[in-house]
C-alpha cells in the first residue's frame, strides 16, 4: 500500500499526471489519491507546476536534414573490432576450455619426456668403458 510519504516523493518527481508515474506503483498511488484529501492536495500543487511546464517553449524543428546528415556522416570510417577480441568476447567458454586443454597437453608432454629420460640407457647403447683398461698405469 502506498503511503503518503511515498506518494509525496512520487508526485514530487513525476508530476500530477498518473500516466507519468512508474507503472508498478500507479494503481496503489491512484487508490491513495481517491481516499486521501492530503494526496489530492499534493496532486493539485503538482498540477499547477505541470501546467507551467507545459507552457515551456517547444524546441524548433531541426535545421539539419536527415538524409544529408546521414550521407555526410556515413563517409566516415566505421570502427571494427579486431577479430581475436571478438572471439574472446563471444566465445569465452570455448577459449577457456581450449587454453586449459593446451596447458594440460604441454604439462603432460613435459612430464612424460622427463620421466622417459629417467628410465635408463637404451638396450643397444655401447657398454661403458672401464677406465682401468685404458689407463697406462
Amino acid at each position: 500500500m502506498t503511503r503518503l510519504a511515498r506518494f509525496r516523493d512520487l508526485i514530487g518527481a513525476y508530476g500530477a499526471d498518473p500516466r507519468r508515474w512508474p507503472p508498478d506503483e500507479r494503481v496503489e498511488a491512484e487508490a491513495l489519491l481517491a481516499r486521501s484529501p492530503e494526496a489530492a492536495a499534493l496532486q493539485r500543487t503538482a498540477a499547477a507546476l505541470d501546467a507551467l511546464l507545459d507552457r515551456a517553449p517547444a524546441p524548433a524543428t531541426p535545421r539539419l536534414e536527415a538524409a544529408t546528415l546521414a550521407a555526410r556522416i556515413s563517409l566516415a570510417p566505421q570502427e571494427r573490432s579486431r577479430p581475436y577480441l571478438f572471439l574472446l568476447r563471444s566465445q569465452d567458454k570455448f577459449w577457456i576450455r581450449a587454453v586449459g586443454l593446451a596447458a594440460a597437453a604441454i604439462i603432460g608432454f613435459v612430464v612424460g619426456t622427463t620421466q622417459m629420460a629417467d628410465l635408463g640407457e637404451p638396450a643397444n647403447s655401447p657398454a661403458p668403458i672401464d677406465v682401468a683398461e685404458i689407463s697406462p698405469w
Partner: protein
C-alpha cells in the same frame, strides 16, 4: 510490410548499409535534437551534439549489440515499444546526454569568443511563435537548473521516458533519478510560484 526495428537497422548499418543508417537518423533526428536543445538550451550546440552522437552511432554500429532490457521495464511496454527499439533509443540518448553534459565541462571561451557565444545563445531556436511572458519565465527558470536536473526533467517529463529507461540513459539508479527530478521541480516551483498562483491552480 513490417517496419525494420532499430536493432535490425543498426545491424545493417554495422555492415556498412548507408540506407539503413539514413533511416535511423530520420527516425531519431527530431527527438534527439529536441532533447539536446532542452538540455543545452541552445540550438547550435544541440545540432552539433546531435551530429556527434550520430557519428558515434555510425562508427560504433559494427560493434553495437543490444543489451537485455530489464524485465520489469513495463513503462516501455506500456508505450508499445519493442525491446530493440527501446535499447537503441536508450543507447543513443545516453550518448547524447553525455555529450550535452561533457560540453559544460569543456573550458568555456573567453573574450571575443565568449561574446560570440552569448550572442549565439540568444538565438536558442525555441519556437518563437508560442512565446509569451510565461513561456520566457519557464524557460529562464529551466535554464537555471543544474544540467543533470534539466536532463532528468527533459527525459521524464518532456520526452516521456519511463523511469527505468531514463535512469539507464543517465546511468544512475532510479532513486538518484527521482532525487534529481524532485530537486528540479522544487527549484522550478520556487522560481515560478507566483505564476502558479496567478493561474489559480494549486
Amino acid at each position: 510490410m513490417q517496419e525494420d526495428s532499430d536493432d535490425a537497422l543498426m545491424r545493417r548499418a554495422g555492415s556498412g548499409d548507408k540506407a539503413a543508417f539514413a533511416l535511423l537518423v530520420r527516425r531519431h533526428l527530431a527527438r534527439a535534437t529536441a532533447l539536446a536543445q532542452r538540455i543545452t538550451g541552445n540550438r547550435s550546440d544541440a545540432e552539433e551534439i546531435v551530429q556527434e552522437a550520430f557519428l558515434r552511432c555510425w562508427q560504433k554500429a559494427p560493434e553495437w549489440r543490444p543489451v537485455e532490457r530489464p524485465a520489469n521495464d513495463r513503462a516501455a511496454n506500456d508505450r508499445g515499444e519493442d525491446g530493440a527499439r527501446a535499447q537503441f533509443g536508450t543507447w543513443l540518448y545516453r550518448v547524447l546526454v553525455n555529450l550535452c553534459l561533457d560540453r559544460r565541462r569543456r573550458p568555456q571561451p573567453v573574450g571575443i569568443e565568449a561574446a560570440e557565444t552569448v550572442a549565439d545563445s540568444a538565438a536558442d531556436g525555441f519556437d518563437e511563435t508560442a512565446r509569451g511572458e510565461t513561456s520566457r519565465r519557464v524557460q529562464a527558470a529551466m535554464a537555471q537548473l543544474p544540467e543533470r536536473q534539466r536532463a532528468a526533467l527533459a527525459l521524464c517529463y518532456f520526452e516521456g521516458l519511463g523511469n527505468i529507461e531514463a535512469a539507464a540513459t543517465l546511468d544512475i539508479s532510479i532513486g538518484a533519478l527521482e532525487s534529481l527530478l524532485v530537486r528540479a521541480r522544487r527549484a522550478l516551483r520556487d522560481a515560478l510560484g507566483d505564476l502558479a498562483e496567478e493561474g489559480g491552480a494549486g
